[in-house]
Subunit: 99 residues, 2 copies
Amino acid sequence: MAEEEQIMEPGSENVVLIGKKPAMNYVLAVVTQFNSGAKSVKVRARGNAISRAVDVAEISRNRFVTDARVDKIAINSEELANEDGTKSKVSAIEITLAR
Amino acid sequence: MAEEEQIMEPGSENVVLIGKKPAMNYVLAVVTQFNSGAKSVKVRARGNAISRAVDVAEISRNRFVTDARVDKIAINSEELANEDGTKSKVSAIEITLAR
C-alpha cells in the first residue's frame, strides 16, 4: 500500500470506498458527508469497482450535490498479495469531489 | 454525444476506444500510437469498460511507455438512446497519456 500513499494522501477523512453494492448506496454516503459539512469527499475504488466509482461521482455531482465539482482524479497501480503468496497488480482510482 | 464533445475535444487523433477485449489488445494499440510518434494518446471508455481503461493506461505507462505520464483524466455522463426510445445515462472516462 506504500505506493498508494505516495499518490493519494493517506489518513484523510471523508473517504467513500466503493465495493460491490449498488451505486446508490455509495451515493448516499457521499451526499451524507457533504451534508455533514465536508468540503471535499474522496471516492476510491480498485479493480472492477472503478466503473462504479465513476458512476457514484457522476450521480452525486449531477443529481444531489450540484454545487460540487470534480477537483482531482488520480489513478495508480497497487500490488496485492494473493493467498498463495504470489502478487497481483490491480488498478485503483481516487476521485475527489469538492464544493 | 454533444455532451461528450463539450468536455472531451471532438475530432482529436490518437484515441483508443476501450471495449470488451482483453486489456492487452488495447495496450498494444496505445504503444503502437506512441511508437508512431504520437505525443499523446487518449484512452476512452464508457460503462463497465471504464475499469479496463484504467488498466490499459496503467499497464502502458508502467511497462511499455515508461516516459509517458497521465496528463489529464476527465469523467462525464453521456445519454444513450435505448432501442425502445427511452434514454439511459452512462458514465464515461477519458485518460490522456502524454510523453
